[in-house]
Symmetry: C2
Subunit: 145 residues, 2 copies
């Protein structure tokens, strides 16, 4: 079992395009050694980083935030299972929150499908928890901008 992977190999094994891997490197998400002829050679551990990146993206985390998270890994030693678990646990919370919001949207939607309102001021999608009751007539969307 060879130690270093070429970019083609890493791309094949991670399922991420070579161009994307180079892009990740520019952003400081992954790193590579260079051969005498300036070609990239990846440590097998980079495979794990790439995995982390793709899963985090699915959770809806930006590459910039992912970089910050990866930067918090110890630079001096190979990250342990605990190191990875710490990060994973952090975005598990994000995922849970996203699921909660989507579920709530679905439930509110159910209420609205019945009445077809979508703009009536009593609608949950418009006025969750009647938070705007004191803010003048008419409701406002309380969705993220």
């Amino acid at each position: 079992m060879q130690e270093a992977l070429t970019i083609g190999q890493l791309a094949a094994r991670s399922g991420v395009a070579q161009s994307a891997l180079r892009y990740y490197e520019r952003l400081g998400l992954i790193r590579a050694d260079r051969t005498g002829g300036n070609q990239r050679r990846y440590h097998r551990g980079e495979l794990r980083r790439v995995a982390f990146i793709r899963i985090a993206q699915q959770v809806g985390i930006s590459l910039d935030e992912i970089r910050t998270a990866l930067d918090s890994l110890p630079a001096s030693r190979t990250p342990t299972a605990e190191d990875w678990a710490r990060l994973s646990t952090a975005w598990r919370k994000r995922l849970e929150e996203k699921i909660r919001l989507m579920t709530q949207l679905r439930d509110d939607l159910d209420g609205c499908i019945g009445c077809g309102c979508l703009s009536l001021r009593r609608c949950a999608l418009y006025n969750p928890g009647d938070e705007l009751a004191g803010e003048g007539p008419g409701a406002r969307l309380i969705l993220p901008r």
Copy 2:
């Protein structure tokens, strides 16, 4: 109660920036009448359209798809509650599917947090359902590109 809304009023009531409302109009998502002086005047019904757009965006639907959906509303009459309910029901399914995928990701993640693997070939996140068993050594990510 006045009939027509200015762009400023629609922006305030919908929570959507004026620039975004003009953008939506360019894309054919909403429409406006014009005064003699060429200013936009919105029917109150547009408020409902804007609501639909923002909620659909939260469900992860592109503006282009939203336009197609809105185009399917009857042009000859004001859309009824049933018209809106028909559209809403369609993306409720999308929402459910998204929730299902996120939930599965979370569950797979739980399994992985325990082992910290993120790159071991038996990991569910890498090799769901062992689908790659016959495709040579090592696992590949089966995440959307």
